[in-house]
């Protein structure tokens, strides 16, 4: 066959599935929403949503995309938070360096978890990741109190950004947009990641781990890299959290933080790209409002979550995509 025919054939196929196209549009829609979010809800809530949504996306990189259950993500968020705060508190560096340190912190913890547990399956990996995160919590609380201030939190001075232009991060609006831009860039980076050769390899692992190993992919190394990326983005969220809170707090390392991100992600849809983001928005919005009416937030959340698992395991966005997929099927050949 001649070369020209080949090129035409290559051009003719549509490699991207309708799901990819839809997620792409959803991503831009959510980011557009982000621009007006601080005017729809309170600015602190909007900032929290952005930070935790990034965290949830980072978490889902491991859960939904690589198929590894992690119950220790609080470790990445928390260490990122402390790393970012400590370089500012002890080293007097600026915000950008702080965020870099936060990412490094998250990636470092991820590397440790990966070295100990990357080859272990589901439940085992979940337990080890949880244990390591909890260990970090106790370390920050007591033995390392000298550096972390333990329960009193490591408080930061008012922060500002000087490059590329000046931002006063004590101002809620400026803080929000600073966080928003960074989160948006991170989201776009994750999109690139998932559509890269590495991202496609992840999909192959999810679809048929045995086969893709037989094709020559080094599964262990790919999973390890995935853990690192997850820790990196989580660390970034942690760094932003420290800036937002003006402090690094031990509660960030507590296992409940891991539990919450799991719930937010599953609420949105773990088998999608934007699901975790959407789930976080809904979760935090609900928590903010329901907490005003009742002390029993945990009871409601627990009950709702159990119902969710039974009735809509694919989550909000996941179920929407599922329904769209079902409606498309009659028209497909």
């Amino acid at each position: 066959m001649n070369a020209k025919k080949q090129t035409n054939e290559v051009a003719a196929y549509k490699p991207h599935s309708w799901q990819t196209a839809l997620e792409f549009r959803a991503m831009w829609a959510v980011l557009a929403l982000g621009i007006v979010l601080p005017f729809l809800v309170s600015k602190p809530l909007a900032t929290e949503i952005m930070i935790y949504a990034l965290f949830a996306l980072a978490f889902n990189l491991l859960l939904g995309h690589t198929g590894m259950i992690s119950f220790g993500h609080a470790g990445y968020l928390g260490v990122g938070s402390y790393a970012g705060a400590m370089v500012v508190f002890y080293g007097g560096v600026g915000v950008w360096v702080s965020l870099l340190a936060a990412m490094a912190g998250g990636a470092l913890v991820a590397a440790v978890v990966g070295l100990l547990a990357v080859k272990r399956k589901g439940a085992y990996f979940a337990m080890i990741s949880l244990a390591i995160a909890q260990m970090l919590y106790f370390l920050a609380l007591s033995p390392f109190k000298r550096w972390t201030e333990g329960e009193d939190s490591l408080k930061l001075p008012p922060l500002s950004v000087d490059f590329p232009f000046h931002l006063n991060l004590s101002d809620q609006t400026q803080l929000y947009f600073f966080v928003f831009v960074i989160v948006a860039l991170a989201v776009l980076a994750q999109w690139r990641l998932l559509n890269s050769p590495f991202g496609h390899a992840l999909k192959g692992i999810r679809e048929n781990e045995d086969r893709i190993r037989a094709c020559g992919f080094n599964i262990t190394r790919i999973k390890f890299l995935s853990i690192i990326y997850s820790g990196l983005f989580s660390g970034l969220a942690g760094g932003l959290l420290a800036i937002y809170l003006g402090a690094a707090s031990v509660t960030t390392l507590f296992w409940m933080t891991s539990g919450v991100v799991v719930m937010q992600t599953v609420l949105g849809g773990t088998h999608t790209f934007m699901g975790p983001f959407i789930g976080t928005m809904v979760f935090l919005y609900l928590r903010n409002n329901i907490s005003n009416y009742t002390d029993r937030w945990e009871m409601w959340v627990g009950a709702m979550f159990m119902a969710l698992i039974l009735l809509f395991p694919e989550g909000i966005w996941g179920t929407v995509m599922q329904k769209i997929g079902e409606r498309r099927r009659p028209s497909a050949s």
Binding site: Y13, S17, P197, D210, I212, A214, C215, G216, L225
Partner: protein, 252 residues
């Protein structure tokens, strides 16, 4: 010799699944392994593909000892196998099934470039789909293919890894007689056109005798005979053990 095994054994506790088998195959040849159920064909296969490591003996490929190399390492060296029970990527498109396999030779870790931007890889994928006759189905979800088509996809995925030696595990399993004839032709065609070295496990004697350069017969883990198809079908011991007494020698 492209690949050979020397006294290779695989024992599972007391069970000698493969016992002292010497095997060799030259570049470009098509060699089949036959034998009754439980003869150790699949175990032997897995010793070559890397799923099992030998209890004793060696597997040598291109002069190198690969006995303890892992499956993905052997795949990268050029030893690729297909599966007896179809193992594809069900929810991905036919195109992506093969492309993903081809990607194993290009990049596993690049986290920035768009996966579909490697035009050479895309072209190669379409070439392979042409070879196995699935080019017009490239957009379909793999799980929607017919059984026979899935077996072809299975071969396509294997081809995409640019194998030096291809291990086909009962490629015609579950196919209708007509499909089996087609598949047989395809395998021989691949061997000739792509100069592939192929090792084949088959139950269907007609497939084997029709296309093989050489045949090895296994029985209870041991090698019974290794020769051209004609000589094998005329071999009385083989006839007794496998074909049954009084069977007619098969003709090409």
């Amino acid at each position: 010799m492209l690949l050979q095994t020397n006294g290779v054994c695989k024992y599972f506790g007391g069970l000698k699944a493969v016992d002292q088998v010497d095997f060799s195959i030259e570049q470009g040849k098509l060699k089949s392994i036959i034998g009754p159920n439980g003869a150790g064909k699949t175990t032997f296969f897995n010793l070559v593909s890397g799923l099992y490591k030998p209890t004793h003996g060696q597997v040598t490929f291109q002069g190198k000892d690969v006995s303890h190399a892992s499956m993905n390492e052997r795949s990268q060296l050029g030893i690729t196998k297909t599966y007896q029970i179809t193992s594809i990527f069900p929810r991905l498109s036919v195109f992506e099934n093969v492309r993903l396999s081809a990607q194993s030779r290009v990049s596993m870790f690049n986290s920035w470039r768009k996966a579909y931007s490697y035009s050479a890889m895309n072209n190669r994928t379409m070439e392979i789909l042409e070879h196995v006759g699935l080019a017009d189905q490239q957009g379909r979800t793999a799980s929607e293919l017919s059984h026979g088509e899935k077996r072809y996809l299975e071969i396509g995925i294997a081809l995409a890894t640019e194998p030096t030696i291809l291990l086909l595990d009962e490629p015609t399993a579950g196919m209708s007689p007509a499909e089996t004839v087609e598949a047989t032709h395809l395998i021989r065609k691949l061997s000739n056109e792509l100069k592939l070295t192929i090792i084949l496990i088959e139950h269907d004697i007609s497939v084997v005798m029709g296309i093989s350069d050489e045949v090895m017969v296994l029985h209870e883990g041991k090698k019974l005979a290794e020769d051209t198809p004609e000589k094998i079908s005329a071999n009385e011991t083989v006839q007794n053990v496998y074909l049954g007494k009084g069977a007619e020698p098969c003709s090409r």
